[in-house]
Amino acid sequence: MVTMNGSVPDRARDADAAAALTYQPHVDLRVEQGDVVVVADLPGATPGSIDVAFTDGVLALHAQVPARDLPGRVVRQEYGIGDFRRQFRLGEGFDATGITAVYALGVLTVRIPKLAAERPRKVPVQGG
């Protein structure tokens, strides 16, 4: 609902937000020497609007994408705009405190390091 001056009443905004569609971002997921790297396309988000959570072996990504209010009438609509949400079950053996997340150019990169104890350890063999 939009008022005559173009502003959206707060209550309507909340209702719209609840009804808005959520989208699954395109992701790359790779394992580099045990570390999991997740790269997600989150165009239109901002670093402050992205929530990265790792709980019980599940990585959950959520990005709030503010509406982009462009003027005029729609001529062509090939994609929708809304929040991005996706999660991955990674399992055990990761260092939750060592997770890093960087957002740049509309792309989020999350690195979940493997626990040091899980890394292969090379044991030197001594001669006697």
Partner: protein, 156 residues
């Protein structure tokens, strides 16, 4: 019915292992594709709006810096060109110590060129483009002759 074969804990385990094998063989990044219903929809997907004095084209091109994309007007069309590179792509077999296993590869890469036909004449020299957080917004002001003209009605 019991379908477990000797040597495998559960039929689903075998399926998982097979799917894992398939993923790891899909080393090459997929080509770019948009958000459309077909798997190879044109990239980038665009939303187009029109006001009295301009055509506004918006496209989602995450991963591209302003220098990676070119915007031009040619033959009554807006042309978006650029290239998205893969990131951190260590090809398989680059050395055992640098092992990378891909599990999902949905973000396409490569060169793209998309022509968006413009239904009205635009002032090519006044087109403005902005790229913020992976969202490209192009404002194409309409040529003066394409803008609606209000005709004053005089009394007699």
């Amino acid at each position: 019915m019991r379908t477990t074969r000797p040597g495998s804990a559960h039929p689903l385990d075998e399926l998982c292992a097979e799917v894992d094998r398939l993923w790891t063989t899909l080393i090459a990044a997929p080509p770019l594709h948009g958000w459309g219903s077909t798997p190879r929809a044109a990239f980038p997907a665009v939303n187009v709006r029109e006001t009295d004095d301009a055509v506004l084209v918006e496209a989602e091109i995450p991963g591209l810096a302003p220098a990676d994309v070119s915007v031009s007007v040619a033959d009554d069309a807006l042309v978006l060109e650029g290239e998205r590179r893969t990131d951190g792509a260590c090809p398989a077999g680059e050395g055992a110590g640098n092992e990378v296993v891909w599990h999902r590869r949905e973000r396409g890469s490569g060169r793209f060129e998309r022509r968006i036909p413009l239904a009205v004449a635009v002032a090519a020299d006044r087109v403005e483009a902005r790229l913020v957080d992976g969202v490209l917004t192009v404002r194409c002001p309409k040529a003066p002759e394409a803008q609606p003209r209000r005709v004053p009605v005089s009394g007699g």
